[in-house]
């Protein structure tokens, strides 16, 4: 029985001898390992006799991920002695942390990226010494993460080969940032329980170091007065997973941009004091009573020259017709940044589970209308499909009649449908002079509502190639490739656990189902405007932002090309394991 992991012939021979005499236990001396193995020849091969049962492999993969999570924690603490406990005494592997840096290219603002090339194979002591030398001088390890992307195990469960992604982020001695990222094959030797696993081999597939002498952004939350420590998700006062909107505008005409933040138990109005700090003034400005808002937009609905405020809420109508939850609200600005609730005065009576709002002039009459994305209430009814759900809450187009009242014209303008709508973005993508609308949906296809010029809409998403199907979270319009036409960016989650599962399922499931399921976790998409339609850009470089939520466009480094920033993450619990 030849151990197939090591292709270096001499090593193989030694391993065979060791295996034969049963001396691969943890107390065994690392005897017989050749003093020198060329880094270029070092490989960790797949087991020849592999475990095939999906559930068993996935269970072992998940356990190995948990076990490596403990190593991540040791790296985060820079507990190098502690990290050593994960390595077998006869460990052999590429010298990742002593690798030579080969410069690849400079990045904006003085950042540099280098390929890390392991030049030797080292034992545990050498590996840990290099790790200590590399990370020891850092001021802080900001993050250490080891994720298992693929896993295969020998049928006798004695060992396995994992494909892992390692991410180490730190603050360097000079206050700069460094990120070491590597794709590795790791050979794990498995004892009876997860406690007795060890790493006995490590092969670097690719590794990079990115360093920046000074980051583009610094965190001034506390210094500027906007920091707020909220309760944990899932505790009273915070149990709405997808709300948490925010809106920016100069509310009092002093030229400084203020921020409104709705949330579960209170609202925040951060007034920009013009000296770099903010003061929370929701109470003084008439917004304290607004609680449990989801999304919000500032817009001058009555054309009196100031920024009024719509705040969405989750409401519904009970079967017997009673209204429950809270309504969509409109607050009129008095011109000095004080707000009055005029919801009833303008005839708004919308009780619906609404998350995002988009203001735009749908009929070109000069008065800005409001589109409200109806999502749904998971507490009452789950989505009826993961791929094309049709039981979400309806959307709303509320027509602004001369700044005096709002009327529901949704059905009349053709915007029917009940998908689980996360967000929308308006723009004249086809340059015909009217405003079109893209709607990003969860559990189903997105819609591109083309305006026919009279304020009536038709869904052309499939025809024009933007019927992104999956779990779209957000949409943004801008011209990213400089051809003068608006492109579209949508966000959506990627799931590495999901990819691992899908990679195994690929052998057994139908191509069609697999394609649909894969698209659900395929991340962000950039659709470039082309020949009257859109082309989904392959490998734009902006696909993977984890479980991405909002995205915003801007030229953050002022280099003349537009950038994107994405917030992300679903729920971080106290336990390290990702479900």
């Amino acid at each position: 029985m030849l151990d197939p992991r090591l292709t270096v012939p001499v090593v193989c021979l030694v391993v065979v001898l060791c295996a034969a005499c049963g001396s691969r236990g943890s107390e065994a001396e690392p005897q017989g390992v050749p003093a020198h193995v060329e880094a270029s020849e070092y490989r960790i091969e797949l087991p020849q006799l592999r475990l095939r049962r999906f559930a068993v492999v996935e269970d072992l993969a998940a356990r190995s991920a948990d076990w490596l999570g403990g190593l991540s924690k040791r790296l985060l603490l820079r507990d190098f002695d502690g990290a050593g406990e994960w390595l077998a005494s006869d460990f052999k592997g590429h010298d990742l942390f002593g690798a030579r840096r080969r410069a690849v290219r400079a990045r904006p603002l003085g950042a540099r990226i280098a390929r890390l090339e392991a030049e030797s194979v080292v034992d545990a002591r050498g590996f840990l010494a290099a790790l200590r030398t590399r990370l020891g001088p850092w001021r802080r390890v900001r993050a250490a993460h080891i994720g298992v992307r693929e896993a295969e195990f020998a049928r006798d469960r004695a060992w396995g080969r994992l494909l892992v992604k390692l991410d180490l982020l730190g603050v360097t001695a000079d206050g700069g940032r460094e990120a070491i990222r590597a794709a590795l094959h790791v050979s794990v030797r498995m004892g009876a329980g997860s406690e007795s696993w060890t790493i006995d081999g490590l092969e670097v597939l690719s590794a990079t170091s990115e360093a920046s002498p000074a980051p583009l952004f610094v965190d001034v939350s506390r210094a500027s007065g906007v920091a707020f420590e909220g309760v944990r998700y899932g505790t009273p006062g915070n149990d709405a997973e997808g709300w948490n909107g925010a809106a920016a505008a100069d509310i009092d005409g002093d030229g400084w941009i203020d921020v409104f933040v709705p949330s579960a138990t209170r609202s925040f109005l951060y007034r920009n004091a013009g000296d770099g700090t903010f003061r929370e003034e929701a109470d003084e400005r008439g917004l304290a009573a607004d609680v449990a808002g989801t999304g919000a937009v500032f817009v001058d609905y009555d054309r009196d020259g100031d920024e009024d405020l719509f705040v969405a809420h989750v409401g519904w109508i009970e079967t017997q017709g009673t209204r429950a939850g809270d309504r969509l609200r409109l607050y009129a600005n008095d011109g000095r940044g004080h707000f009055d609730d005029v919801t009833a005065a303008v005839g708004l009576d919308v009780f619906a589970p609404i998350w995002s709002l988009t203001a735009f002039d749908h009929d070109g009459d000069g008065w800005v209308d409001l589109f409200a994305c109806g999502y749904g209430r998971m507490q009452v009814e789950r989505n009826d499909s993961w791929i094309e759900a049709t039981n979400g809450a309806r959307n709303w187009l509320l027509r602004n009649a001369d700044g005096k009242s709002f009327t529901d014209v949704t059905v009349a303008v053709g915007l029917e449908g009940a998908r689980w709508s996360h967000a929308a973005a308006a723009a004249d993508f086809d340059r015909d002079g009217d405003q079109d609308l893209y709607v990003a949906n969860n559990f189903g296809s997105n819609r591109l509502w083309r305006n026919d010029g009279s304020g009536h809409f038709e869904d052309v998403a499939a025809e024009l190639g933007v019927a992104e199907r999956g779990n779209s979270m957000a949409a943004v319009w801008a011209d990213w490739n400089g051809d003068g036409r608006l492109d579209l960016f949508t966000t959506g989650p990627t799931s590495h656990t999901g990819e691992r599962v899908l990679a195994r399922l690929a052998h057994s499931r139908s191509a069609k189902i697999l394609q649909d399921v894969t698209r659900m976790a395929s991340g962000n998409a950039l659709f470039l405007s082309e020949d009257g339609g859109f082309r989904r850009m392959r490998a734009s470089g902006a696909e993977d932002a984890g479980w991405a939520w909002s995205a915003v466009v801007g030229d953050f480094d002022l280099d003349g090309a537009l950038d994107l920033f994405c917030a992300n993450g679903f729920v971080t619990g106290d336990l390290p394991r990702d479900t």
Binding site: R78, R107, P108, A143, R177, A211, S212, P215, L216, F217, V218, D219, S221, R222, A223, A227, E229, N238, W243, G245, A249, D275, G276, V297, S356, A359, F360, D361, G364, F371, A423, A425, A426, A474, A475, V476, G482, L486, S495, M537, D544, A545, A548, S550, V552, D555, F556, L558, D559, G560, L562, D563, L564, F565, N568, G569, F570, T572, G573, D578
Partner: protein, 309 residues
């Protein structure tokens, strides 16, 4: 399941994708400084301090709910376009942005667009108005702000020469000059004791050093601190942030180094934590960090890393 404390796509860091101008992007997240691991939802990009670059505001699901990141881009050419009409498309150079009220997810951007223009001394701006109609404007100088309406363009002055403030030192919750609260700590034997900086100071400077036995730079620093402690007008207290199971190792390290100053540990579960929590956020504190407290019990300075005192 995440309601039981498990993560579901947790600890993901926000992403910054720097555009190449051709539809390609570079992921510069790990070194961008705005890669918060919190569960982000809405995002606002706005030039909150009117210095010509866009800062970022993020609304998170939990913990530190509101984050503000100051943009550090300085000295690069830009123009800032103020347009209030929703749906207007503004083009500067090769970039076109739309004035949107409600885009992304549950986010509403302010009616200000910022464009980088490199070294160009001035920039031309064109606008497509909703409903049709385009307008070209005479070039405006770099670093200008211009308000554009259907009736024309007006250059407006910079509001004030201000900036969002510098970040506070990470992990420390009080500002320099503020009184350091009384701390309840654990000693090496596991007992509790009270550390009142004013009483302890008694005319001296107190150096409160946070360290851990696994931290190589900390170990380097231990003898330095001993030398400082030996001076008449200084007093050192070292607080080890080792996890409880590693505290024995911390005490060993101190014994090995022949340390003469007080050593302590953070409060344990169930201890009085008010003072400690008002001073320190352990999850963000880089080590070693030393708080220098003046004889009046106020925070005088913060020394990070192995820098001398």
């Amino acid at each position: 399941m995440y309601r039981r404390g498990l993560s579901f796509n947790g600890d993901e860091r926000s992403h910054l994708f720097v555009g190449g101008g051709d539809g390609s992007f570079l992921d510069v997240s790990p070194t961008c400084g705005a890669d918060s691991p919190l569960d982000g939802r809405a995002v606002l990009a706005a030039d909150f301090d009117d210095d010509g670059d866009q800062d970022l505001f993020v609304h998170n699901l939990q913990r530190e709910r509101h984050e503000l990141f100051r943009n550090e881009t300085d000295g690069r050419g830009y123009v800032k376009v103020l347009v209030s009409e929703v749906g207007a498309e503004v083009t500067v150079g090769a970039s076109t942005q739309v004035v949107a009220r409600g885009s992304g997810f549950a986010s509403c951007q302010a009616g200000e667009l910022v464009f980088g223009i490199g070294d160009a001394p001035r920039a031309s701006i064109s606008v497509r108005w909703p409903g049709g109609g385009e307008a070209e404007f005479a070039p405006i100088p770099a670093a200008s702000r211009v308000r554009i309406t259907r009736s024309g363009a007006t250059v407006v002055p910079r509001r004030a020469d201000v900036s969002l403030p510098d970040p506070l030192p990470p992990g420390i919750k009080i500002a320099v000059g503020e009184l350091v609260p009384t701390l309840m700590l654990r000693d090496a034997a596991g007992g509790t004791f009270e550390l009142d900086p004013r009483t302890l100071a008694a005319g001296r400077r107190v150096h409160l050093t946070f360290w851990a036995s696994y931290c190589a730079p900390c170990i380097t620093k231990l003898p330095q601190l001993d030398a400082i402690h030996a001076a008449a007008d200084h007093h050192v207290v070292a607080i080890s942030v080792d996890s409880p199971e590693d505290r024995e190792r911390a005490v060993d390290r101190l014994l090995t180094a022949g340390i003469g100053y007080t050593t302590a540990f953070p409060p344990a579960a169930g201890d009085e934590v008010e003072g400690f929590d008002a001073l320190i956020d352990l999850s963000r504190l880089p080590i070693p960090t030393t708080l220098v407290i003046d004889p009046d019990g106020r925070l005088e300075s913060v020394v990070r890393g192995t820098a001398g005192l």
